[in-house]
Symmetry: C2
Subunit: 507 residues, 2 copies
């Protein structure tokens, strides 16, 4: 009987080997996984206590065999086989660039809408609705558990999270465990890793996966008093290599090389580029990769960057910039920090729920994505953006409402451009559309008493008025065609959805 | 006994001359006005019915003489004298560029804050708080009178207004009189002017002046069904020449060469440049000059343009752009259309009062100015933005409140830059400051629970919390120094004013 492992899940092998010396630095171990058609090499890693990890995420069903190679004789030459079984419902594999999974055209040299979107490895649509809990795995266990319970009820399917602990305003306590063995008093051993820290990290990644949440893992960041932001290039590479070799087998992992890379003055562009190569060289699956700015954007035209993971440029220019960033980089755009709902003192963290909800709509309607964060300083002892815990804000439910609406969009939807025929009178609003068939308009903080539309010739439409704040959808009783005027009630945060019905009705 | 005329008011002479033929095109008349030190030539104009106008706005007190020159023998050679008397209180002359009136430095080649501001000819501060009633002089008399009564109670000291009538949504009726004699049925005589139209226009400009309101006169615009936007270059120049010769003597006139110049596809840059020369050649005083865009800005580096009179670039980028426009053009920036308060269908005209008030604060705090407009479609038969009539909005009172606060600022105030020493923790907000002495912070839609400040060393301050929406100013009881934390109450639209007191207290 061969072992069975579900497609996109982890074949996870533990082998006993050398315990003496420093196996983290001295022992190398790789494994070649082969099926009828291909061989894939993955890098093993030391787990402590003489145990070595060999992992593999099979992306093809059927029989696989493997063979281990190592400078440790007790590991070298180990072989085995297993069977990869079909994925269970809800298991869609990694999130990828849509153009890499299901290209509409064999190859294209011009911009198409699929350049700007994601999907799972099996072709299932994935629209990121992320949140931010930078240091949730560095909190005490009880907070981590509460965070997971909150996430289970929230609409988010991606979370930005760090590996290193965070030192910053409202983040001043030491965590229980670190990436490296040691503590702030005695210092850290940068040549070894703490097995218990990594076991907990992996447990949390698995739990996120069970909730359908992608772990957008921030590998380096500047909020530091322990020295982790000032390691040497060799130490950085040693750390990155280990992390990527251990975690790349989790299907729900994304690599965010840094948060606010520009606040790490010790690192150069050459460092970042070298680190990107380390990630790619140790991740045979090619998980999504990004690097996040504080002020100046990193050069997102670099080919290793799969998507734009951007922060608002100033207090104002946020989700509205999606149009420009799409055009500039021709990659999916996630405004991973559009400002947070809350009442913290910092300008980036005291938005109303209405304003953050507006930014979500605005960014999505322009063909991008937006991430959530919450920074209420007076609602509980934890602040979601950093610690996790509970959510208190008004935007969460509205983001869930938006997620439902966006989930129902036709796959071929794209932002309506000013040059589109028909609909010219709506140059001053954002609209997602599939030509002639489907239109979703959004009016943000505008509050028109009514709007005029010129519908495409010879087509009939059903219309719905969507109140994005009160989360209501009202179908209008009539069937519309030609030049129409729709009463909007002079309310803010309204949307209009139009679906063509003439086709189906005539059949 | 010589005639007396108050400084900056109009010496207004009427002479009888040729009535036959077309005096508008056939008769030229100029007058040379001289005092002990200088001679200034102004161009006369035909008023109809054999009457010719000779005007002059003296800018120096004392004795003046004049001599008329004309190809009409009955006008040629007329001479006279008058005495220019001191200005009455409230009469400060034209509005000018501050750097032209009271330069702090003899000459400067670097940017100074006075490049970005205005003042009256006599040195009195002028901070424009404009409104927009494009076609108010083209409405029936009763509406014009109501508009003036409304303006008398409003905080505005500038108004954008057209000469030609307006044809546009909500603007479809013909006016009673036009610049040219004629009507839509029989056509217009583009070689003559309607004296009664111009007498009313002048009356309205005088009435605005009596209210302390600058008339920002829009000479050309695209909202037309009568043909006024499609005149030939010769007809445009004939019109501009007449208008400028007649109106330039009013101290409260500004020239806005066009509204949405880019929506006049029949005109080229060469046309606009030629028209600018016509204005300058016929206005010996050099009133302020601008040209207003719809989408692309005209090249505001052109030397004839005294200030940036700009429209929001899209629905979002408005008052926040002041910083960029100042830096780009080094001229005063007036966001003459930042969007309007109202509930019209168009995106530019359905802002809340809060949002328009926020844009006023935001633009002013960045060292620019913002103009008001109101587009409520369901409050009365007139819409302020175009017809005049009454004001209904919430922003008017708040703009008045802002005007009072800005009026009290020290003359030397300027936007605090990120590089400023102290106050670094406030990079995420806008601030006007006079170094060490005075700070005015504004937090817009942010709602911090508190803010931290590091006050300049060895200085003491009194602080006030300003609620810009509820129009309250609350002085905090303490005297502050060093590192401080101020409770802000997690409310939107708050400002903090800091005045240094250590100096005066120690004296």
């Amino acid at each position: 009987m061969a072992d069975c492992i579900e497609k996109y899940q982890i074949f996870d092998l533990e082998l006993s080997g050398t315990k003496s010396g420093n196996p983290f630095t001295e022992i190398t171990v790789t494994a070649k996984f082969s099926n009828h058609a291909q061989s894939i090499e993955t890098k093993g890693f030391y787990k402590g206590n003489g145990i070595y990890g060999i992992r593999f995420m099979p992306q093809e069903e059927g029989s696989w065999s493997y063979q281990v190679h190592s400078n440790d004789p007790s590991l070298n030459g180990v072989t085995g086989t297993f069977l990869c079984t079909p994925p269970q419902p809800g298991n869609h594999g990694r999130v990828c660039l849509k153009k890499d999974v299901s290209p509409k055209e064999e190859a294209h040299f011009y911009e198409t809408e699929e350049d700007f979107h994601f999907c799972y490895e099996d072709g299932t649509r994935f629209q990121p609705f992320g949140t931010t809990c930078y240091a949730w795995i560095n909190q005490v266990e009880e907070v981590q558990e509460r965070t997971l319970r909150t996430l289970a009820k929230a609409p988010f399917n991606k979370i930005r999270m760090c590996i290193f602990p965070k030192f910053y305003t409202y983040n001043t306590t030491d965590p229980e465990r670190y990436v490296f063995p040691g503590n702030p008093r005695d210092g850290f051993d940068f040549t070894r890793f703490d097995p218990i820290f990594f076991e907990n990290l992996e447990k949390r990644i698995r739990e996120l996966d069970a909730l359908g949440i992608e772990a957008d893992i921030i590998l380096l960041h500047p909020y530091d008093r322990w020295g982790f932001s000032k390691m040497t290039r060799e130490q950085d590479i040693f750390y990155l290599t280990y992390v990527v070799r251990r975690l790349c087998h989790f299907k729900n992992v994304w690599w965010s090389l840094a948060n606010e890379y520009d606040l790490l003055p010790h690192k150069t562009v050459e460092d970042w580029e070298a680190y990107a190569r380390v990630i790619m060289g140790n991740d045979p699956y090619g998980h999504l990769r990004s690097i996040h700015n504080c002020i100046p954007l990193y050069d997102h035209n670099r080919s290793w960057i799969t998507h734009v993971s951007v922060q608002r440029v100033d207090v104002y220019k946020t989700a509205e910039m999606v149009t420009d960033w799409r055009s500039q980089y021709r990659k999916p755009v996630i405004v991973d920090e559009a400002g947070y709902e809350g009442n913290i003192d910092f300008g980036w963290g005291n938005l109303t729920g209405q304003e953050l909800t507006r930014r979500f709509w605005e960014g999505c309607m322009r063909g991008g994505y937006v991430s959530h964060g919450e920074t209420y300083i007076d609602r509980s002892e934890t602040i979601w953006w950093s610690h996790g815990g509970e959510l208190h804000g008004d935007s969460v439910a509205r983001i869930g409402f938006l997620k439902e609406i966006l989930g129902e969009l036709p796959e071929e939807i794209e932002p309506l451009r000013l040059t589109a025929k028909n609909h010219e009178e709506n140059w001053d609003s954002v609209c997602l559309h599939k030509e002639d068939e489907y239109y979703l308009y959004y009016y943000g903080f505008s509050r028109p008493l009514y709007r005029n539309y010129t519908l495409p010739d010879k087509k009939k439409y059903k219309l719905e008025l969507i109140d994005t704040w009160n989360m209501t959808i009202r179908e209008l009783p009539e069937v519309y065609e030609g030049k129409i005027r729709i009463k909007m009630g002079a309310r803010q945060y309204m949307a209009v959805r139009m679906k063509e019905i003439s086709g189906p009705l005539e059949i």
